[in-house]
Amino acid sequence: IETQQPRYLSSEAPRDVQKEIGDLVAKNKVVIFMKGVPEAPQCGFSNAVVQILRMHAVTYDAHNVLVDEELRQGIKDFSSWPTIPQVYIEGEFIGGCDILLQMHQTGELIEELQKVGIKSALMDPEDEKK
């Protein structure tokens, strides 16, 4: 079995995961860290997040922590949040599956998306006038 060891060339700096994550959450309005990928989630909680975002027809970046152990730990340190999935809107940590589900149920998610210029597919045409 081959294990991949990080190889440091003399001109390469070691990985700065926190900075990487800072860059990742700034790259798109909605960014999620999950287990698996949106086409094939590997965790029921991650899947719930994917399905909710699908209902709102949101485009987002998704990062799979199962293929990157440093990212998996790093994202928990970054947000001081102990579990995966994690949802970021405009660089701000919003919460995990429970919170996203609650926001979806109360309509708060539609509002949060609207605030950053994303029109949810579930938005009531009446509310668009607001």
Binding site: G44, S46, N47, L66, G96, C97
Partner: protein, 113 residues
């Protein structure tokens, strides 16, 4: 009223007991329910890795959901950095609970860990 799930032999696991004690001491809940959901996931029998907690407490008044969850996470910091791998939190104020807020069913496992 505290409800602690018990396994087949009628005993609550050690981790569940610690979670109950810590949440009771720190948040003084009027209602507390701790459910070991590890059986729903791809982990060995009698694991204590996945939990759902329902906490009703005045401590949550005027706190947004994220703040409430962070409060619970903080109380259970040690457990979350050792064996507890997933924590589903339902945090209500007594007013919300009395109005009949529902606890959501946790999603099914999809195989990964």
């Amino acid at each position: 009223v505290n409800l602690l799930t018990r396994n087949m032999s009628g005993m609550a696991g050690p981790v569940a007991s610690i979670i109950e004690r810590k949440l009771t001491d720190m948040l003084k809940p009027s209602h507390l329910q701790i459910i070991n959901e590890s059986y729903m996931h791809s982990v060995p029998k009698n694991s204590e890795t996945h939990f759902k907690v329902v906490v009703v407490s005045e401590s949550f008044t005027d706190k947004k959901p994220l703040a409430r969850h962070r409060l619970v996470n903080d109380v259970l910091k040690e457990e979350l950095s050792s064996g507890v791998h997933a924590l589903s939190i339902n945090a209500f104020t007594p007013e919300q609970w009395d109005k009949g807020r529902q606890v959501d069913k946790s999603p099914n496992c999809m195989g990964g860990f």
